[in-house]
Symmetry: C2
Subunit: 325 residues, 2 copies
C-alpha cells in the first residue's frame, strides 16, 4: 500500500510516524503547498509540490489529507477524491453532511473511496457513541474532553493585545464525570462539564489584569466556562507546556430494553501524550480500510461507522478469530 | 424485522426485553426444547417447540440463539443457519475458529447470515481490542473482568459436598489496573490480575473448614487466585447476592508509530447491573446487522469485527452523520 501525505504539520508528522511503522505500507511522498525545498521530513521521504499529485496519482494507493477543517479540507478532499482514495480528519461537526455529500459525488465519479472525519472526535469517539447507543438504547451519552491542549483556544488567547504566547487546557469537571458514571443522568450547563486553564506569557509592560479580563469574557471561547489564567515566562511555557496531550471520555448510562430495573454504564476513555500523533495513527488505519474497500470495488464517501473494524487491522481474519475475538 | 428467540433462560429474557423496546423489531416467538406449556414469557409472546422452527422459518427474519456454548451452540447454530439468519453468543474462545467454519458452511449453503460470538466478551471487548490495536500498534492490551458474578465458578462451588448455595464474584486487582493505566506495561501472573470472592451457604452440620479448603484449592477455578470465602445464610445470599452484575475493562497502552516518545492509553469499560440483559441487548443489535447484511445479498458466517457499526444502529445515515459522528 503506497501512501501519500498531503500537508506536513503536526498531524502529517503523526501519519509519517504511523505509516513508517506499518508492516503493510510504504510512504511514497509528502505533498505540500509550501516550497517543497523548505520542508524537511523526519524520515527523509521526498517532498513534492501539491500540484504533483495529479501526475503521481497512479503511484499512490491512498492519500491522507492533513489539512485544516476551516479552509483546506472543504475543497481539498473532494478535489483529491477525484483522483485517489482519500482520508481526512474533517472536524467541523455542523458541516459534516455537506462535506460528506461533496466527497461522495467526487469519489463516485472517480471510482475511489473517500473516508471523512477520521480521528478521535470525530472518529473513535463517534464509534463509542454509536456502539453505546446500540447496546443501551434508553440512556444518555456524554462526551468529556481533556485534560488536553486546545489549539483553537490557545490561538484565540495569542490574538489578545499584550500576549506573547499562550497554552490553553480543556479540563473535565471531575464531579460531572462522577455523576454520569453513577447513573444520575444529569443535565449540565456548559460551565458544569469543563474548566479552562490558561498559561499566558505577557509582553513586557502589558496590562495583565486587562489580559485576564479579555480572556475570561471572550464570547464562545471562554465566557461560558470557569477559566483560570496563570502568567508564566516564555521559558516556563516552553519547559512545562510544549506538548500536545489530550484525551477524554464518552460515557453512556442507561437501560438495555423495556426493563427499567437495570442501570449500565459504558465508558470509552483516551489518555494521549500526543493528540496529533494519535489522530495520525487513526488516519493511517483508515487508509488501510479505504484501500481494502476500494480493492473490493466500492466507491464513494464513507465515515468510520461504515468500516468493518477488521478492515482497520493489520491482523488477518484467522488471527482475529483465534486471538482477538 | 421479525425476531425469534431460541432458548428462554436469562439471556433469552434479556433479548425479549431488548427486542420489545426496539422500534424496528417485532418478537415473533420463543422456541424451547422444554415443554412449551411449561414456559411463560414476560411479554406473553407465544412459546413454541424447537422443532417448530423449520415450519416457521419463512416467518422469521433473524433467530437469536440463547443456548450454552458447551453443548448447545456447537450444533444448534450451524443447524439453524441452514434455515434462517442467526446470531449467537458462543464464548468458548479456543473453539471459535471451528465454530465459525461450521456456521460459515451452513449459512453459505442456505444463503443466510450467521453472526457468532456476539455479546461483550467476546463481542464489544473484542472490538475494543481490535480498535485499540489498530490505533496503538506498538503496545500491550489487558482485559480485566469484574466486579461481577461468574456463573461457572458459582456452579463449581455448589458441586462441593456440604454446599447448599453459592455466588462467586470475579474482582480485578486495583493495583494491577492502575499499573496498566500508568503505561507500566506490566507482566502479570493470574493471581496478580483478579481476586475471587465467594459467598457460600453451608448445609446444616457441614464442615466449613473443609468447604473453604476445597474451594481455595480447586484446580483451574481457584487455585491460581487469591480467594476469600464468606459463609452466609440462604436469606443473606438471596437478599444481597441475587443479581448478575458484571463488567470490566479492556485497556491498551502503547505508541502510535515509530516514535517511541509518546505513551497513550485507550480504555473501554463496562459496569453492568445485568450481564445477561446486556448480552441480550448486543445480540439484538447484531440481529439488526444480520438482517441488513442478508438483505444486501450477503451470506455466510460473520463476527462482530465484520459489521460496519452503523448496521447495529436504529439511527439512519443522515442522523448518524449529523448527530453522532
Amino acid at each position: 500500500m503506497r501512501i501519500g501525505i498531503v500537508g506536513y504539520g503536526n498531524i502529517g508528522r503523526g501519519v509519517e510516524s504511523a505509516v513508517t511503522a506499518a508492516p503493510d505500507m510504504e510512504l511514497a511522498a509528502v505533498f505540500t503547498r509550501r516550497d517543497p525545498a523548505s520542508v524537511s521530513t523526519a524520515t527523509g521521504v521526498p517532498v513534492l509540490a501539491f500540484d504533483a499529485i495529479a501526475e503521481m496519482k497512479d503511484d499512490i494507493d491512498v492519500l491522507i489529507i492533513c489539512g485544516g477543517s476551516a479552509t483546506d479540507l472543504p475543497w481539498m478532499t473532494p478535489q483529491l477524491a477525484g483522483m485517489c482514495n482519500v482520508i481526512d480528519s474533517f472536524d467541523t461537526h455542523a458541516r459534516i453532511p455537506e462535506h460528506y455529500a461533496n466527497v461522495d459525488a467526487a469519489a463516485k465519479a472517480s471510482g475511489k473511496i473517500g473516508i471523512i472525519s477520521c480521528g478521535w472526535d470525530p472518529g473513535y469517539f463517534s464509534l463509542a457513541r454509536i456502539y453505546a447507543d446500540a447496546a443501551l438504547p434508553d440512556g444518555d451519552s456524554y462526551t468529556f474532553w481533556g485534560r488536553g491542549v486546545s489549539q483553537g483556544h490557545s490561538d484565540a488567547i495569542r490574538r489578545i493585545d499584550g500576549v506573547a504566547d499562550a497554552r490553553q487546557y480543556t479540563v473535565p469537571v471531575q464531579e460531572a464525570v462522577d455523576k454520569v458514571r453513577n447513573n444520575e443522568h444529569p443535565v449540565f450547563t456548559t460551565r458544569e462539564m469543563h474548566l479552562r486553564e490558561c498559561y499566558v506569557v505577557a509582553e513586557d509592560g502589558a496590562d495583565r489584569d486587562a489580559i485576564e479580563q479579555a480572556i475570561k469574557t471572550m464570547p464562545n471561547y471562554f465566557d461560558e466556562y470557569d477559566t483560570t489564567v496563570t502568567f508564566v515566562t516564555q521559558e516556563e511555557l516552553n519547559r512545562d507546556h510544549s506538548g500536545l496531550p489530550h484525551g477524554g471520555s464518552v460515557i453512556r448510562s442507561g437501560c438495555t430494553g423495556n426493563d427499567k430495573e437495570f442501570n449500565n454504564t459504558i465508558e470509552f476513555k483516551l489518555d494521549l501524550d500526543s493528540n496529533p500523533f494519535f489522530t495520525g495513527s487513526i488516519l493511517t488505519a483508515a487508509a488501510r480500510a479505504a484501500y481494502r474497500m476500494n480493492a473490493e470495488g466500492q466507491s464513494g464517501a464513507r465515515a468510520m461507522f461504515d468500516i468493518p473494524p477488521a478492515y482497520l487491522s493489520t491482523h488477518d481474519r484467522d488471527e482475529l478469530l483465534a486471538h482477538m475475538l
